[in-house]
């Protein structure tokens, strides 16, 4: 038999089969398949495209389906009878329908145009039920604009005068309006008026309002007006009492609430007598709308609103004639003031009907799928109120009370919104003040909001780390309110070679809530850990303010990136250098009497190490050192030190004085009285020794007392770093002292000579070293020479 498996392909899902009817599948016209799942629907499925083309909803469960021989008609047998459906008319993508007399109009969007197609509905002959009469097309404006293919088009029909077709039912048809002959002539021309042709008006989603006179040979779709927003509703209203049932005004409503009123200008006013297009606006969005003689009812989705077009102030604009009419025309915003009807969630409306008592009744469909009948009270006029029976009065009072409650609720919501907006405005004002305050200063000025820092070694989980405590001080007269964030960026100036030589910054953000004038807030962050030699570290502080605070939204839902929605105000920059990070230990000789056993142990180990190092000079190749000489006079002047022991005070100053805004918290520097030696360990755990001693230098003119600071360590990095740190501090010292000093020139010449000699060595080292691989030692040697032959700083 046949080889392989048979393939069953799933084309579509129709859900569970109903119980009452008979499940059916039948092939019909062309590639159509009719499917009945036993319920009340007949699905029309195209086998070719494998898509569902239509669902025919029958009033009862379907029993059988048959297609006529010419494949035009589908007969559906239900419990309630046999229905005949024209299969041919399942026009794809038809978005709106209208019946004018015996013509059915469909409006559908094709790829490049809107096409209005006319079909003849012949009631008598069954053979050809729907005959295609004509098709008119209007090119799309641009494909992009009309991506909203789902939005519905509006199709209405207007007649000149009271020439509604004789066959029309007594009650007014929806979408059919008799139009004042004058307006009709002016809008659609003499030809349409002469042929008394019904004119079809199409409101398209691109905002165009186009028209087509039906009975004129060779007519085509033409543009009447463009609302520039999706047309939701087109209607006509009887304005004047003299119109005798004809509408004197054509109204189109756009999705966003734009409205256009089209009326005939007064004859003779401007010669040819133009048409007046009055533009107005109602609060949108307009979901759906309907209208009676002079009022438009529309739903914004949250509320149902009523606009009395010709009410003006007293409701007599129409009657009093043209004077007031003119006024209302000249002031288009005035007449489109909606009155709330307090019904929410309406998505579809049917034309209003009137009860015998004069009540207006609207049939609406809510967004939840509820069919509602909305009854509007008789227009509130005093005489009608007084005539009302007492039973109705009670009810109406209840209605009014509930309406009041409703309005109160909404009013309170609005109040809250206003309050919060005011709050936001205030905050924004503060933010702007602070922004100006901080951004107007140059770098050198002290900013009124700034950071101080202090570092401290701390130990956590057997690991030493250097913590920076940043204190944000607000010295400005403004409050830093909630919403500000202190952003601290830690950026090492250098980093070990093995890390790739690229310094990577770390960012810390500290949101704080409110910082009044003269207040401060303290944050703490790790800068480095022990063994990490990437000093000095630059700490950049800035203040951030996110605008999303104002919107009440959190960052998670923010559509914009954080950067673009922030004020970022730079504050000052702190530097943590080797001196700040130096951990002091006692001078090597006496053992410390520490309390904790761990410290004891550590002390023991480190002293052992020191001793080992000290003892094992042979094992270690060399100890590096660097020297800086500063004149004592300068120190005295700058630091205001006691004349007695400048060297101790220099060391103390070096270690304690915050330079670059950072202070080391130390309990007190223990120096060995006269020798003024400080021992400590650098962050990379290398032992360092700082000594300061007074040296007499023979200048040519006179002897000079200087203080020499020497840095000694086995680690080159530590020596370099500390030397750099010391120099930085002395630099600031010099800046403080000013430039009034006389610099001896002879000494400078010598120094210059030395420098040139060393430069030659560097050059030599680099040139030689390229070939021999001896560069690093040579360079090191030059460096040592540079550091050992210190310049005298006066």
């Amino acid at each position: 038999m046949m080889e392989g498996r048979c393939a069953a392909e799933s084309w579509a899902e129709f859900g569970l089969l109903g119980k009452s009817g008979t499940p059916l599948v039948k092939c019909g016209t062309g590639t159509d398949v009719f499917i009945c799942t036993g319920g009340e629907e007949v699905y029309v499925f195209t086998a070719q495209e494998k898509t569902l083309r239509a669902v025919l909803q029958m009033p009862a469960a379907v029993r059988d389906v048959v297609v006529s021989h010419d494949e035009q008609l589908l007969f559906v047998a239900c419990w309630s009878g046999v229905y005949c459906v024209n299969v041919q008319l399942l026009v794809p993508r038809a978005s709106s329908l209208l019946v004018v007399g015996s013509v059915l109009l469909t409006l559908c969007r094709t790829d490049a145009s809107w096409s209005l197609t006319l079909y003849q509905i012949q009631r008598t002959s069954q053979s050809d039920p729907c005959d295609l009469l004509a098709s008119f097309s209007l090119p799309l404006v641009s494909p992009k604009v009309q991506s909203d293919a789902e939005s519905r088009c509006v199709l209405v029909c207007v007649y000149p005068g009271n020439l509604m077709p004789a066959s029309s039912p007594p009650h007014p048809l929806r979408s059919h309006y008799p139009l004042q002959p004058l307006l009709f002539r002016r809008l659609f021309g003499a030809e349409a008026a002469l042929s008394k042709s019904p004119v079809v008006l199409c409101g398209l989603p691109d905002g165009r309002l186009s028209f087509l006179p039906l009975r004129i040979p060779g007519s085509r779709l033409r543009i009447l007006h463009s609302l520039e927003q999706s047309v939701v509703f087109v209607g006509a209203s009887a304005v004047m009492e003299t119109d005798a049932g004809c509408a004197g005004c054509l109204i189109a409503l756009g999705k966003q609430g734009r409205a256009v009123l089209i009326r005939a200008g007064r004859a003779g006013l401007e010669g040819g007598g133009g048409t007046r297009f009055t533009l107005g606006c109602v609060p949108g969005p307009v979901e759906c709308a309907c209208m009676d003689q002079s009022r438009v009812y529309y739903s914004t989705g949250s509320d149902l609103l009523m606009v009395d077009l010709w009410d003006g102030s007293s409701g007599t604009a129409g009657r009093q004639g043209d004077k007031e009419d003119e006024a209302s025309r000249s002031n288009p915003a005035a007449f489109l003031t909606p009155i709330s009807l307090n019904v929410s969630g309406v998505v579809a409306l049917h034309q209003p009907t009137y009860s015998s008592a004069g009540e207006v009744q609207l049939l609406s469909l809510s967004v939840r799928g509820r069919l509602q009948s909305i009854r509007l009270p008789v227009r509130t006029q005093e005489d009608s109120l007084s005539k009302r029976p007492s039973s109705q009065v009670g009810r109406s009072v209840g209605d009014i009370l509930s309406a009041i409650g409703d309005i109160c609720e909404r009013a309170s919501v609005l109040k809250t919104i206003i309050r919060s907006k005011n709050q936001i405005l205030k905050q924004l004002n503060q933010v702007m003040n602070i922004s100006f305050l901080l951004s107007n200063r140059s770098e050198s000025d002290l900013k009124p909001v700034r950071c101080r820092g202090s570092v401290r070694w701390s130990r956590l989980l057997q690991r030493d780390s250097l913590n920076l405590t940043c204190v944000l001080e607000n010295l400005s007269p403004f409050i830093l309110e909630r919403g500000w964030t202190l952003s601290v960026t830690v950026l090492p100036l250098s980093c070990p070679l093995e890390a790739g030589g690229e310094a990577s910054s770390v960012n810390y953000s500290f949101p704080f809530s409110g910082l009044g004038p003269e207040e401060s807030v303290e944050v703490s962050l790790p800068v480095a850990t022990a063994g990490d030699a990437s000093f000095p570290v630059t700490v950049t502080c800035s203040l951030l303010f996110s605008l999303w605070r104002f919107l009440g939204q959190e960052e998670a839902t923010a559509p914009l990136d954080l950067q673009s929605a922030c004020f970022s105000l730079p504050l000052n920059t702190l530097t943590v250098d080797w001196l700040d990070a130096l951990r002091l230990s006692d001078p090597p000789a006496p053992a410390r009497s520490s309390s904790s056993p761990a410290d004891l142990l550590q002390g023991f180990i480190s002293s052992r190490q020191l001793r080992c190092r000290g003892g094992g000079q042979a094992s270690r190749p060399e100890e590096y050192s660097a020297r800086v000489r500063v004149s004592s006079e300068l120190l005295r002047d700058a630091l205001g030190l006691a004349p007695g022991s400048p060297r101790v005070s220099l060391l103390e100053w070096l270690l304690s004085e915050g330079c670059g805004g950072v202070k080391m918290e130390r309990k007190g520097i223990k120096t060995d009285g006269s020798s003024s030696v400080i021992c400590g360990s650098a962050p990379d755990n290398a032992t360092v020794k700082l000594t300061a001693e007074e040296v007499n230098v023979e200048e040519k003119t006179k002897p000079l007392v200087t203080v020499e600071v020497q840095v000694k360590s086995s680690s080159v990095a530590a020596v370099c770093g500390l030397h750099h740190a010391v120099m930085r501090r002395i630099q600031t010292l010099l800046q403080k002292a000013g430039s009034s000093r006389v610099v001896p020139t002879a000494d400078l010449r010598l120094a210059l000579q030395q420098a040139e000699e060393q430069r030659g060595q560097v050059w030599e080292a680099s040139s030689v070293g390229v070939s021999s691989g001896q560069t690093p030692p040579l360079l090191l040697r030059v460096y040592q020479q540079l550091r050992d032959g210190p310049l005298l700083i006066l």
Partner: protein, 592 residues
């Protein structure tokens, strides 16, 4: 092998069931086709497979799904080549088919392949790829080989072997149909290119084919002869076409055009009348041929030039030209009837107007139609009806009139081109002319009723409207546009009318002034000149009157022409001056 044979048999049976069923759809065949193509191509099954493909493609073609048909055909040709082990290395269908046909020459498959090739021919024809069709004709495959093969086929069908797959359409009939359709389409194409195709068309007209198609060949021959400036022979051909297929309305229309060219107005009116009544019959425009047949000839006759040759204006257009012809050729009462029919058709509830004129309309604008009808009524001495029509026009246009129309320099207008913009811009002028013409006709009506005061009123209204148009009086440019010409005519006619009316109520000075002005506005106006003479005579300026009359003697009132709207021409509706009387007067004057 036995299994395979039985499978083959069952497939054949399935095909035969489907082919003899009453509902033919390509998709049921396509399923069978797919199941056949699922197995590797083999000579044994090729016969069946080709038959099924043929059936499928016929059904596709019948539903105008030419692309699907062509795809299937190409695939089949490729499979055939697979069987033969031949690979032309191209997907060009004509090369494929040539190779495929060569590979099966002499085998039993040859006939089947030929019939598939015919289908390909049909697809090309339907898609108007005439060069491909011509290629195959030049191969002369179809002509030379078809005869023998089809005879063979006939012999086979007599045997009635049960397991031969049935074809839904006899290939011989397909070939016949395609031949004549090709002749027609090619004829039409060449005719529009200006070639003479008489011999080919006449050869085709002798072939066995549906009447409608034969009629088309006659029609095209007629068109060809008309191009060659042989109107009488063309008329003969059109007559033959009509005799062959009475529903060939196009032949009637073309005859009417030829009569018009020959200025045989009576015959033209007759032709138009018959054409109109035929167009009103249901479904005459669609040649309702081959109702029971699978393939309609219209599938293959979709060439652009053919459809433009076969196009016939709508019933309303025909009615309008009929009415106009009647009025112009002094069959006024008939013309009036036609106009009234036309207006009734336009006003009626049914949407014929929409239906036919959706694309392009040859009908003039409605107000002009009304005015033409009004003029016809006036000529038929029905002034009341005429006035009613004019009232309608005035009512619908009066409040749309501009206060003032300023015509630009004709040169500037010509530069602006005849785009939509200028059309819109000129609307004011056009409306004004409509209204003015309506007033003029009303004035004519009142003068016909001898209500001279009313006539003066209406002529005055007309004049007042016309003077709102301002234009630079550049030297008489023939290209100045019909509107300007109509404007001048209307001015002349209305002034003449008012002058004549004044003359009737013995206000001779005003009459003289108006007639003088009328002569200035429209120098060709004959009645204005005659009446000018008359008024001069009455004012006792007999010599001048005589001179004036002498001038008019030579040229009588011109007959109506089609170049201008009827209402802008002299209708001879007003009071006439008896020429005999004028002669008498002149003779009285003569001795002096």
């Amino acid at each position: 092998m036995i299994q395979s044979a039985s499978l083959l048999e069952s497939w054949t049976q399935e095909n035969n069931q489907l082919a003899s069923g009453c509902k033919l759809s390509p998709h049921v065949f396509l399923l069978l086709c797919l199941s056949l193509s699922g197995i590797p191509p083999h000579l044994d099954r090729a016969q069946l497979e080709l038959s099924v493909v043929y059936n499928t493609c016929v059904c596709f073609t019948a539903q105008s799904q030419f692309d699907e048909a062509e795809l299937l055909l190409t695939q089949t040709a490729q499979r055939l080549l697979q069987i033969a082990g031949d690979d032309p290395g191209t997907s060009d269908p004509s090369v494929l088919w040539r190779t495929a046909l060569k590979s099966v020459t002499g085998t039993a498959l040859h006939r089947r392949v030929l019939s598939l090739l015919c289908l390909q021919w049909g697809v090309w024809l339907a898609k108007s790829r005439l060069t491909a069709v011509q290629d195959f004709q030049e191969m002369s495959l179809l002509e030379a080989q078809s005869g023998a093969v089809w005879n063979d086929c006939r012999a086979e069908t007599k045997e009635k072997i049960s397991n031969i797959p049935i074809l839904v359409l006899d290939p011989r009939r397909l070939v016949d149909l395609l031949k004549i359709c090709t002749a027609i389409v090619q004829g039409a194409e060449r005719l529009t290119e200006g070639w003479s195709v008489l011999s080919a068309l006449q050869a085709a007209s002798a072939s066995p084919a549906p009447r409608a198609l034969i009629a088309y060949t006659h029609l095209l021959s007629g068109s060809c002869l008309a191009h060659m400036n042989r109107p009488q022979m063309a008329l003969q051909c059109y007559r033959k076409a009509l005799e062959t297929d009475p529903r060939c309305v196009c032949a009637l229309y073309q005859s009417a055009l030829i009569y018009s060219r020959l200025e045989n107005s009576q015959a033209e009116i007759q032709a138009l009348r018959i054409l109109h009544s035929m167009l009103l019959l249901p479904s005459t425009t669609e040649p309702a041929m081959a109702a029971g047949r699978l393939l309609s000839p219209s599938l293959f006759l979709c060439s652009q030039s053919l459809s433009s040759l076969l196009s016939v204006p709508s019933a309303l257009s025909v009615l309008h030209s009929l009415a106009l012809k009647c009025v112009i050729h002094s069959r006024v009462s008939e013309g009036v009837e036609c106009y009234l029919d036309l207006l009734a058709a336009l006003q009626s509830e049914d949407q014929h107007g929409v239906r036919v004129h959706a694309v392009v309309s040859t009908l003039p604008k409605l107000p002009r139609l009304y005015l033409e009808a009004g003029a016809a009524l006036l000529m038929a001495r029905r002034p009341a009806d005429c006035m009613a029509l004019c009232d309608e026009v005035i009512g619908s246009t009066l409040d749309l009139l501009p206060e003032k129309v300023l015509l630009e320099d004709p040169v500037a207008r010509r530069v602006a081109g005849s785009g939509e913009v200028t059309e819109e811009a000129e609307n004011g002028l056009v409306r004004l002319l409509w209204t003015a013409a309506a007033y003029l006709l009303q004035g004519h009506c009142y003068s016909q009723l001898k209500d001279w005061k009313q006539a003066v009123t209406h002529y005055t209204r007309c004049i007042n409207l016309l003077v709102k148009v301002h234009y630079k009086d550049t030297d008489k440019d023939p290209e100045q546009g019909v509107d300007l010409c109509v404007l001048q005519r209307l001015k002349g006619l209305s002034l003449a009318g008012r002058g004549i009316s004044f003359a009737q109520i013995d206000r001779l000075r005003e009459a003289l002034r108006d007639l003088q002005l009328s002569r200035q506005a429209h120098p060709e106006g004959v009645s204005a000149r005659r009446w000018y003479g008359e008024v001069l005579w009455r004012l006792d300026r007999k010599q001048e009157a005589a001179a004036c009359w002498e001038q008019t003697w030579s040229n009588p009132i011109p007959s109506l022409s089609e170049a201008l709207p009827v209402y802008a021409q002299e209708l001879q509706s007003g009071p006439l001056l008896d020429s005999a009387e004028l002669h008498q007067k002149l003779q009285e004057l003569g001795p002096t």
